[in-house]
Symmetry: C2
Subunit: 473 residues, 2 copies
């Protein structure tokens, strides 16, 4: 089971910049607050926007896995490429799972050395990105007839995904004909309503559900994240087993037996009481690097909220930042140790690598002799421990999420840990962790600028607000 | 020429969170300060640690380019793969140049569709990363005999690079024999002294210099960044031309004619006077995404310094954060608009894409009709403008670095802009922008933990400081 080590967030280790140890003792205010939230979360789980909590359990899980597995069995082997179209919560989980559980060279490997098709997750409308990907698929990778397009959008109206999909659908139809092209599309969308639902019904696309009550950033353990994972050989049952195991631990009423409650309490207290609003996640693992991006969305979008309930305006939330160990020791640690003490640094440590690389002996270079016979994994863990020490020495709070090894089960545990911690943090900050009201303005302004009927006034507002000035050099 | 648009950082646009317009008027305190720094920088350029400033000019440039070009001519065509070993400043520039100026599918393309070898830049000792890369090269990419190893380390003692190099050298010797393997190595290192220099002299490796007075994070326009770029078909003369053009603009005495002085003044003033210590760089361009990582090192490591000169301890510096448009609109913008107003958001906008992708007409989906006939480039720019508007509307300062198009010349301009701006910011904050004293502790602790002779006391200190506690869940 993965664990959370928060010793370096205590005052004992980092002085005034840390938390008093009795915060984590029975009867403390934090303990009582966590107990109350645990009870509240037990009451609301599986309802409203907390239906993500049960994705790894019971009937919901069985229904999703069985639908995914049968679709994967039907389509796998028929395609050389899987092209995922989605953005935000419809892409970050997919990217993170592939990166964590398949090798970084996955797409370069020959067919017989890969457990599934090459995978491309297009999470932007950048024309150079999309153009180069299309060129590759059409000219060098068997053509679009050998490409399965997996479009992910609950409504079908997310501008970026819709634009990509219009392009891909047109090209599929031109390559395969109107009738045949449907075999090359799997949609993940609302099971009942919306623009994408209608498109699927009209065209006869296979579809999997974005379940009700599961927001984008909480959807990785639904078909949104699981279909592309299963297509590429990732063990989705192990992922869900891990999530279920962690969920059970995160239902414990005692603060210090509950890793999600502890993680949230620690980060919120450091943020609120100790002037640490910047929350860094720094995996010592390239494979987990994209999970830091996934975390960025979860933490930023769930907690970054303007609240006026208490009469005055409060800008809640913390700024999630990604870093990568050991790489960023050579880029960010100077700042983390000597710059403003406004950060909490979270490490991810892999205790045992599925594969390690030995450093050979006999090079005969005196100054490098200490490396000979060691392994890269041992060096990486030493660097992490050294960095932990260096931060403690500068009074900078930090913590470690320790994974016994990197596999689907532990990744499932990691996912559920952060999702439940986010639910706790939302309650602790008294914000709605499940909405994102501030993104509407930009969406409407985009519609206005793109000439969508009914949004003309937004274009005028934008043009007036951003008129040219002399402040250009 | 690329430009800096800072209108949205003024009080006119974002109220109290912005800067007074008269800050940018002749005679203002900021104007006078910038003038003095410009004069000082003219005095120190080309000396001490400011020798990076002349990398794009005169004899230095000619010597580097000619050495690089002749080595590239000699080795190109003989290798299918280029494996760069380096970390921090010895990797970030290489990664950023490849990503900016070669397509994201570069390594996937067949040999005749690529201007150079496949390129792998190993900037970590993660065993899964290194192991998978070695497996691919040895088993699927022609073997190490078809791989050129480009090791980059000024001293040769950076633990991560040294460990990688010991592994690669051993494998090259086993694959090719002791005599022949030297043809497969190009080192970039100190021209006169150090561990790597001795290794090169002993083994007869071809070598290019890490020039004196050029620190890692200021080295991208030296052989450190240019050799791998030239091997992969990037026009290094255009890069240097761009840098020289920008450098000239950044020598202008008037604040508002000098983009580096303006950028530094704006960010330091917003950081110091307006409570905005978090400095985000958010390219609306996947290709420029890794330049945000390059910027992260430059800004963090140069400015994040503890200073005690004025009697009391000051923790200077700003936290650079990377984001990606439009992708992170679906991840970070909720926080940027409604969370703590402690950020400045810098956009990169590409005005004209070298290649665009049209959204076809005729799909017949009413709600998506506004997208038909537009291009992805136009959509991306509309999203950026909409986001700019949404941030202004919430009183969040932001600015735009506008690139007429994405090519080597403009990338050279971009690089020089940020390097000179960093020199200004260091002077404004009264810190040494060229050292990194705080990374030493971690290096020594790593040596101790790895058993290097002479560092035993560090292991004892680490073990004492990080003894196991009950704070684990």
């Amino acid at each position: 089971m993965i664990t959370l080590d928060y010793a370096n967030c205590t005052a004992e280790r980092v002085g005034d910049h840390g938390l008093a140890a009795d915060l984590f003792s029975p009867g403390s205010e934090a303990w009582t607050a966590a107990e109350a939230i645990t009870a509240d979360l037990a009451r609301t789980r599986g309802t409203g926007w907390e239906r993500w909590r049960d994705l790894a359990l019971g009937d919901t899980r069985r229904a999703h896995v069985s639908a995914i597995v049968s679709l994967v069995e039907e389509r796998r082997g028929r395609f050389d490429n899987l092209l995922v179209l989605g953005i935000g919560g419809s892409a970050l989980g997919n990217l993170a799972l592939q990166s964590a559980l398949n090798p970084p060279t996955y797409n370069l490997l020959p067919d017989d050395a890969r457990p599934g098709p090459r995978v491309f997750i297009l999470d932007n409308v950048d024309p150079l990105l999309v153009g180069a990907t299309l060129d590759y698929l059409e000219q060098h990778a068997g053509g679009l007839e050998r490409t399965l397009v997996n479009v992910i959008s609950k409504s079908g109206e997310t501008a970026e995904t819709a634009a990509q999909f219009l392009i891909l659908r047109d090209r599929l139809i031109r390559a395969l004909g109107k009738d045949r092209h449907a075999e090359n599309v799997v949609a993940i969308t609302d099971p009942e309503k919306g623009t994408m639902r209608s498109i699927c019904d009209d065209a006869g696309y296979a579809a999997l559900p974005v379940p009700d009550g599961v927001g984008g950033r909480f959807s990785v353990l639904s078909p949104v994240g699981l279909f592309s994972a299963a297509m590429c050989g990732i063990d989705i049952d192990a992922l869900l087993d891990g999530a279920a195991e962690m969920d059970e631990r995160c239902a414990q009423p005692e603060l210090t037996s509950n890793p999600a409650a502890t993680l949230a309490t620690m980060l919120v207290r450091l943020g609120r009481d100790k002037g640490k609003p910047n929350h860094i996640l720094m995996p010592y693992s390239n494979a987990m690097d994209l999970f830091a991006d996934w975390y960025r969305q979860l933490w930023a979008e769930s907690l970054g909220k303007r609240e006026t309930t208490s009469g005055r305006e409060v800008h809640a939330g913390y700024t999630p930042i990604k870093a990568l160990g050991a790489t960023d020791q050579h880029s960010q640690i100077q700042l983390y140790r000597e710059g403003p003490n406004d950060k909490v640094i979270g490490f991810i440590e892999i205790e045992r690598d599925a594969r390690d690389v030995e450093i050979p002996t006999g090079a005969g270079v005196e100054n490098l002799r200490y490396l000979e016979g060691a392994s890269l994994g041992a060096l990486l863990r030493a660097e992490k421990r050294a960095t932990e020490y260096a931060l403690v020495e500068s009074g900078r709070p930090n913590f470690t999420i320790r994974m016994p090894t990197l596999d689907a089960r532990r990744v499932g545990q990691f996912i559920q840990l952060w999702m439940v911690a986010t639910a706790y943090a939302g309650r602790l900050l008294d914000v709605d962790a499940y909405d994102q009201p501030a993104v509407e303005t930009g969406k409407k302004a985009t519609f206005g600028l793109m000439g969508r009927a009914g949004f003309e006034s937004f274009r005028r507002q934008v043009d007036a607000a951003l008129a040219e000035t002399r402040f250009v050099v």
